[in-house]
Amino acid sequence: MCSQRKYRTIPLLIATITAACLLLTSSVFGESKKEAFKIGGIFSVTGPASFLGDPEKKSMQLAIDQINAKGGIDGRLLEGIIYDTEADPSKTVMSVGKLINRDGVVTIIGPSTTPTTLAVIPIVERAELPFISCAAGNKITEPVKPWVFKTAQSDIQAVTTIYQHIQSRKIEKVGIITVANAFGESGKEQLLAQASKFGITVVRQESFGTSDTDMTAQLTKIRQENPGAIVCWGTNPGPAVVAKNVEQLGIDTPLYQSHGVASPKFIGLAGSAAEGILLPTGKILVADLLSDDDPQKQALLDYITAYESKYKETVSGFGGYAYDAVNLLAKAAQGTDGDQKKIRDNLENIKNHVGISGVFNFSETDHNGLDPSAFVMVRIKNGTWELVE
């Protein structure tokens, strides 16, 4: 008898507790007038690509705080839910699943790298969810996929910027040396594809491994063809070795590098060999050198001040991708009440949005929205950057 009664009390207890909980929660949530606008973020905050993901995560948070301080979107505050992908495609896919199914986000920003982005594109396409990638690969938005956008500049614009400069110096023959990984391959593809448009012939194409210590053999081969310029496409440390080898071999052909080395780190690595090297870079690196009539100057300076005062660290060239993404979404989400189809349509129609990475003009055929003006050419002089026309 006694034990039976005991059993009977347990469901009662559970029911009481549940009821109490429900009452408590409803009273807590009842206070906020409107539900928060949930944005998912997936960045490689740790792991090999943390130099991208860490500033992106911070910039996303910064943009959300700024928008919330102004009252949010149509009175609804933004809420960022951020997961770390560790630059691992399978972890990224899992995070996207969590964001969509458990957290119920309206849109997703990130991931930081091209492989992780390509891994999640099928999922967001199926879920019909507006998605803005922070990775640079051309394949993300080409061909155009209805729900996929990206804010990082691509190799297409970087190559165009370099070739415009080479053309203006009346150079017709170039030798290219690219790193043997996805970044280098994509650069090589663009360098070869766009050359004829600028009346340029690629007389020699060479490659080097990511951890090679000596590129003199490749450079000697390039020198045999007497090119008017050498274009090197890679990320540190390879291009610094190339710069050193060019100096050591006494090659006096102008050397162009890609935006992949546009950081003070490259100057530190290459030392005196960096002098005179030309490269395209996003404007954030040279924000204070820009002329006052540059449309992006004010936006860049504001972002740099806000970022550096909030996080007490030097701004990086990559956080802007996430900052732009949040601001673009906020613009597109106005008046949609979270309707994903409407947000997507609005995104596609955004024109002249002045961002960190450039001035965005999206269209049905262009989901990156940037043109070569997103880049400026700089020359390394006395260990720092100098704008070139």
């Binding site: 060479e206 490659s207 951890s211 000596d214 050193k244 050591q248 290459a270 030392g271």
Partner: protein, 291 residues
Amino acid sequence: MQEILQYLFSGITNGAIYAVIAVGFSMLYSSTDLINFAHGEFVMLGALVMVTLAVTFGLPLLPALFLSVLVVGAAGMLFERLAIRTVRHPEPIVLIIITVGASIFLRGIGMLIWGKDAHSIPAFSSQPPIDIAGAKLLTQSIWILGIVMLVTAGLHFFYKRTLTGKAMEACAISKRAAWLVGIPSKWMVLLAFGLSTGMGAVAGTIIAPITMPGYDMGTMLGLKGFCAAMLGGLGSLWGSILGGFLLGILEALGVGLVSSGLKDATAFLLLLLVLYVRTGGIISSASVKRF
């Protein structure tokens, strides 16, 4: 002609580095029958310790070099003491897997201490490259060749002329017999680890100025060194040196005359070829009988 000479210079420089790394592999193999797949990581440690000592602490060149080699040699001995000797059933496959684990562990440590960025360090001497018939020879290459020759000669002397060196050789030939005549074989193994990883560190310190050392540089260098050792004859001092130079020169000529895409393929193609035709390497250890 000028180009060929330039390829040769480049090949000899790289070859010297492969040779030192290969010697490290060979030395350990001849005294313990063990292939240390963490060897490349000790090369990385050598380079990065050198960066810390020479750049951060501003030590002069030679003390920094010696100290880095000592530190890494000590780390190698610690590795033997903690991870290799404590294994209850020291079968080769178990030990090799332990070294693979150690390589991942050391890379992680390298990343934690020195960060993910590459580092740079000034060349040992700042003279401009020397012009020989239109081809440029870097002064650092001369340093590399000189140090490699010195180290090789020193090792040769150690194995042939000193009691400890002979004791090590005895251990290599038969551990049991060496133990019977009173040679402390455990100490010899420990010493072999110290010397082998120290050799790796030598390679790391001398290439630090021409490459940009970073935590992930070790793997590829280790593999190339392993190829060179196999090529020349694993377990043979001169075989490893020969294998290293051969690999470096063929790689450079492959890049120059065929295609730079084939650079890494050259090493591994050559290795396969040698293993098919002459399993023991060019100077097979059977005919040289270890060191």
